[in-house]
Amino acid sequence: MATASFEPTAPRAPGLLRRVGRRISESWLFLAFFAGFFLFWEFSIDWFDIPRYILPKPSEIIVKSSADFERLLYYTYITGAEAVLGFVIAVAVAVPLGLAIAFSSVLRRTIYPFFVSIEMVPKIAFAPLFISWLGFGLLPKIIISFLVCFFPIVLNAILAFGSLSEELTRFSQATGARAYTTFIKLRLPAAMPQCFVGFKYAAINATVGATIAEFIGSDQGLGFYIQIVTGNMRPDLAFAGIFLLTLLGLSLFGAVTLAERLLIPWHISVRRRQ
């Protein structure tokens, strides 16, 4: 057909092998920089004669902390549980609440402005209070982790569910579809990308919340561990704790990113990465 000849053919998705190859060729510079950074750290301790109680070598961190491996692993589990539970509960509560606020004019004029002003309060400031109310156990840490996750999720969910494009709104009106059908077929999928903005932000905050809550008062967890070993002049062990916290944060963020990729592969932020 003559009319079709003007159209370019759509590009095909590249094969898996080519994608992996491209990934490596794109990131080798970063990997080299990373390796260089740790090598510099390793050797500069001797070059600049830095005392071990100030900054240990990476190799020493690995060797020394491996003696404490079991405890570190258990504390990683504790802090991880606090962060993940806080995050999961926040998602379970904040998404339905955001949905309700987006669709209820009463809630939008009462709870919504309340949330916006509460968002300005640093949630971490509540940590000492919760610990004094609820003790040294896991619960106050889960609550703090929940609080730092809750607000970004709820505010993004309100935005997500409240803003279907004008065209799609009119399209659904012109089909005469029921509100439920419009919700399932248009609003819900269209809201997902904005919801994930909140989930990702919360995933980054969750470990931070749990760690700081542990700093303030606890008897286990990586935050507790870092505070104790720093007091004992063991920066090598503190760095091991920091490394595991980083790993924890990355894992949670990675899990959310993976979920995003599986649930909304069609979204631009996901497509760009592929």
Partner: protein, 255 residues
């Protein structure tokens, strides 16, 4: 059966009090069943506003609009509608997007499978039915949106600058498809555009709308044979219409 659309003393204002913006009208317009009518005017003249009021998607400030004898007092669900930004959703492929129209209406997509195949073939998209909208060019997307707007066989088509964002060659190709489709089934079409050439090529009637606040000022019957292909577009009569319309807009201070 196609329907006639009767627009009586319709006007639209936005806001209230001293902040009122008078967007359109008052204007009368009668569109007979099976006509292809273009609303032609400069941007911001209220032609899209009029189209939304015809669709029942925007409330009128004054006047009445009738589909045959039925007053428009709610969104019309028996129409096919297209906007400048298409209503394809990125999470469905081309076929899924066409089926979306059926699903929203509670119609069976299996019973309409042949209809979807026919539509896809008529706009040369059959090989692309499993592609997502973002994998297609702008022209292909609008063709897919076109199938989406037509799949439930509406008697009335309201098209709000559906080709506005496309390049000239693609516009030409899709115009030809649109004309072929209209000639086959003769729905009543209201076509919003700011292209004089497009309006003259496609329409039985061209309504010239004045700059804001827009009013239907001239209604010009286009008496040219169908199909209006390249030969017609080169003809003296075709260019006479273009010249006449340009003169009117020149009078408005637009051209």
């Amino acid at each position: 059966m196609s329907v006639a659309i009767d627009i009586r003393a319709v006007s639209k204002s936005f806001g209230s009090g001293s902040e009122t913006v008078h967007a359109f009208g008052p204007s009368d317009l009668f569109i007979d069943a099976g006509e292809f009518v273009s609303l032609l005017g400069p941007s911001g003249c209220g032609k899209s506003t009029l189209m939304l009021m015809i669709a029942g998607l925007l409330e009128r400030t004054e006047g009445e609009i009738y589909f045959d004898d039925k007053l428009v007092d709610a969104p019309r669900t028996d129409i096919g509608i297209m906007f400048q930004d298409n209503t394809l959703v990125p999470w469905r492929d081309v076929r899924g997007n066409i089926e979306l129209q059926l699903e929203m209406r509670g119609l069976s997509k299996h019973k309409h499978a042949d209809r979807i195949d026919d539509l896809l073939r008529s706009v040369h998209l059959k090989d692309f039915e499993r592609r997502k909208p973002f994998e297609l060019s702008g022209g292909m997307q609008q063709r897919a949106a076109f199938c989406q707007a037509l799949v439930h066989s509406p008697d009335t088509l309201l098209l709000d600058e559906p080709l506005g964002k496309l390049d000239a060659m693609t516009r030409d190709a899709i115009r030809r498809d649109l004309q072929g489709l209209w000639m086959r089934t003769r729905p009543t079409v209201v076509f919003v555009t700011h292209s004089i050439e497009e309006a003259v090529q496609l329409s039985t009637k061209v309504c010239l709308i004045t700059p804001r606040p827009g009013r239907v000022d001239h209604v010009i019957d286009i008496d040219l044979p169908w199909p209006r292909d390249l030969d017609i577009k080169r003809s003296e009569a075709f260019n006479q219409y273009i010249g006449d319309i340009q003169e009117v807009f020149h009078g408005y201070g637009v051209l």
